[in-house]
Amino acid sequence: MIPKWIQLNNEIMVQKNGSFQFDKDREAAKSYFVDYVNQNTVFFHNLEEKINYLIEHEYYEDNLFNKYEFKEVKKLYEYIYSKKFRFPSFMSAFKFYNNYAMKTNDDTKFLERYEDRLAVVSLFLANGDMKKAMEYADLLISQEYQPATPTFLNAGKKRRGELVSCFLLEVDDSMNSIGFAINSALQLSKIGGGVSLNLSKIRGASEQIKGLDGKASGVLPVMKLFEDAFSYANQLGQRDGSGVVYLNVFHADIHEFLDTKKINSDEKIRIKTLSLGVVAPNKFIELVEKDKDMYLFYPHTVYQEYGVHMDDMDISEMYDELVNNPNVRKKKIVARDLILKIAQIQMESGYPYIMFVDNTNEYHALKELGRVKFSNLCSEIAQLSEVSTINDYGVDDVINRDISCNLGSLNIVNVMANKRMQETVHRSMDALTEVTDKSNISIVPSVAKANRELHSVGLGAMNLHGYLAKNKIAYESKEARDFVRAFFMMLNFYSLERSMLIAKERNETFKDFEKSEYASGAYFDMYMKKDFRPQTERVQQLFEGHVMPTMEDWVRLKEQVMEHGLYHAYRLAIAPTGSISYLQSSTASIAPITQKIEEREYGDSKTIYPMPFISEENYFYYKEAYDMDMFNLIDLVADVQVHIDQAISTVLFVKDDLTTRDLAKYYIYAQKKGLKTLYYTRTRKKTIDECVSCVI
């Protein structure tokens, strides 16, 4: 029979006197605790007994607690419990107990409450420093900062997965490299990672192999191999591995690549579970605008001619050269046909994601260190990468840098309420840094190398729409844009400040800091010219009581960064925030809501979730994304993007009476407005498997 709490939760939708029964949700949350959680929690007489038991039975890492006096640990637990946290909705409680709480080995009883998890995460991150542990505890129980799922789930456990879960790998145009990438994909899927692969270097179909024409099979069979690899490595059957493959739009196989997602494509070439992304240089948009023909290039012939992969080139700059070089094999298509095809396939399948690679590299403070070539499963990561050379047995490989992402998000509502943003951002950066320091993905040496040298993290934010609605500001208004300009300027400021302070404390910067635009000071030009503090009265009111960096503060920060350096090569990235935004009872990422009352099938449950703080009063301010003008959404994201050194997961929401022309216009507008990436396009009511692994 159906449990009472699910029944109650579903009854929200049964209208009484013309309105939804929101109070049923609190009843559902309560019933879930009383009738389920409490009855299925292992009982201990006191904290000491509990911790000892959990260490003894190999649930917790013992050296986690050895670093602290028990007396102090007890104080920390008491502090967290004294805050009397209660989940405001069934969804948030259910998310925690179903997905995060530690359970007995046979999966039948809970061993942790929410408060316990927070305590363990705090102790884990503080690494023996009790003062810091208390600070983290305060940050977490006030729900100002939420670590990404892999960190939150695994911290402090004896038997645990990795703390980071999103990886990006380059694939070279060789059998050794493809094999190595498949192995890496398997290994990373095994530990719960989502993997992105850059296929743009792979030679096109019918290119030469060992000088023989027409022998190469192109990228499609490679995609098939990855698709099968990801479904094989399914973490004890819990969930399939997930992956995305990126291809440059100028690659000769681009049409076939996109056709794999067509509804009526042949089973042999159809790609079901693998996600797709395209890398779109500005040249492509330019050819579209001028309605020109467009040449696709065969990458192997480019490599043979120039000794450099097409993927490592600035194609926009090299385009004419490649077109005019008779030794480069090419084929001609119409640029507008291709963009419409991308739009059509997006309407049919949600894919591909799009990376505007030139925007990314133009606003890239590390351009002298390397190029950004592709993004990840959630399209918020934009970091440099270099392909490794994998040799035969007995010959050393040349290992270069791939990418991993270690994420966390601020809850805007609580950060704004507590008015201590400097402290909040500093502590959050510390928490992410701790994870970077503790991570060593030795099974994929290129990932470990990048982490060692660059210490990249990605701090983001969620609950933007929740915050705006709560304060009765429309998402598409000038005030909303004014708010994000100021908020994300502050986020950028304080994250730079903290990164600089860590570099100073440790006397260590990321590798080759001196070649970056942070070192030259060029990065700060924007802040020297423009004041990002709020201009509208309404938003000025919202920031009352907050300490906001002035232009003078930016001058001072610039000098400090130039002097002491930065510890992190990359600091900020705005993830889509799936599970953790439910945990935080917040709206996802900086995106608009999709439904005032969401019905969510998460693969493991069907749950009704009214938006946070929703009431008759602010109902109007919760305009649904599908009813918004996507040009307005892009404007807002563009205002955020200037403060974010990596990218922002940006979903376009459209109604299905839209045509390919409408959608293509959004892409072009996004490119012109400086967006770095576009994530899914969602048609109203569409259910797409969300990016499960790095939706944090």
């Binding site: 509804i263 099938e601 072009i668 009511k685």
Partner: protein, 331 residues
């Protein structure tokens, strides 16, 4: 000499025909698009009774879709006036075949060969299932040339089949999917429901067209016929439900759901509901609710993917876009 006419889509037969064609074709899907293997874990955790019910439910649905695709839709299409109307019916018949096949896709992915064979034997032996198929089949086969009354009856049977008789079977997959079990298979069932609801509305419209042209006397006798047929099928359906669901204790819930859908079938035919309003299990209702927009047939807000509508970019688009970029700089 006879003159054969080609179907002419430039001259729509009625104002709704184009919309129906578009709605039907834009919903096209194939069973192989859904990764059913994701359900293997959930399947392995179900009890033997639950598995058996699930198999029988799908077995019953397979038979009904077979009947509808092989007999019902083609016969109605053959006798309906209008080449575009026929085209839509034939397209719908093809979808019925995809439905019938998709249950097998679920079978073959999750169940053993023995279980599959047992299910097809059960289909042949279950008297309630056979009975309802027989009632419907007789009405289909009873269509006579140039006889609107027999054609109307067949359309009524078709609407009852698609909007009413399927739902005793749909209940269980929806009920499970609502609790996060057999979710991929649930997805298939939802796609089928999405189709059946459009089919039900369309055939219902055709039936109402015929009905409105009949004499008052004929209408009266058909009104009685429709309600008697409903009750006849309903009583059989109750026993079928007991047969299927007693073992897992859901009979009561399913019966409410049947009455709920019986009313909907009547409404498709333009009649008032027959059964009193009841609260249907919200988990099951919400299961279909994700699809509400397509239940609501005249709105083309479909769920799931859609065939994209292609329209070329124009040079003037770039003038507008470049202007907008300039105007967006408000700070």
């Amino acid at each position: 000499m006879r003159k054969f006419e080609a179907v002419n889509w430039n001259a729509p037969e009625s104002d709704y025909i184009e919309m129906l064609w578009t709605q039907n074709t834009s919903q096209f899907w194939l069973d192989t698009e859904i990764p059913i293997s994701k359900d293997l874990k959930a399947w392995s955790k179900m009890s033997d009774d639950e598995k058996l019910t699930y198999m029988h439910v799908l077995g019953g649905l397979t038979l009904l879709d077979t009947e509808q695709g092989n007999v019902g839709m083609p016969l109605i299409a053959q006798h309906v006036e209008g080449k575009q109307k026929k085209a839509i019916l034939i397209f719908q018949a093809a979808m019925e075949e995809i439905h019938a096949k998709s249950y097998s896709t679920i079978f073959t992915t999750v169940a053993s060969s023995d279980m599959i064979e047992e299910t097809f034997e059960w289909v042949k032996d279950n008297k309630h299932l056979q009975r309802k198929t027989e009632i419907i089949d007789d009405i289909y086969k009873g269509i006579r040339d140039n006889d609107p009354v027999s054609l109307y009856k067949a359309m009524v049977a078709s609407v009852f089949l698609e909007s009413f008789l399927f739902y005793s079977g749909f209940f269980y997959p929806l009920f499970l999917a609502g609790q996060g079990k057999m979710v991929a298979s649930g997805e298939i069932i939802k796609l089928i429901i999405r189709d059946e609801s459009v089919h039900g509305v369309y055939v219902g419209l055709l039936a109402q067209e015929i009905y409105s042209r009949l004499s008052e006397q004929e209408q009266q006798s058909l009104y009685t016929y429709v309600h008697e047929l409903l009750i006849q099928l309903y009583e059989n359906e109750l026993e079928y439900t007991e047969n299927l669901y007693d073992a897992i204790g859901l009979t009561h819930e399913v019966k409410k759901y049947i009455r709920y859908n019986g009313n909907k079938a009547l409404m498709n035919l333009g009649f008032e509901p027959h059964f009193p309003d009841e609260e249907v299990n919200p988990v099951v209702l919400n299961g279909i609710r994700t699809e509400t927009s397509t239940h609501d047939f005249f709105s083309t807000k479909g769920s799931g993917y859609q065939k994209g509508k292609v329209e070329p970019l124009q040079d003037k688009d770039f003038v507008v876009l470049n202007d907008r970029v300039k105007q967006s700089d408000i700070f």
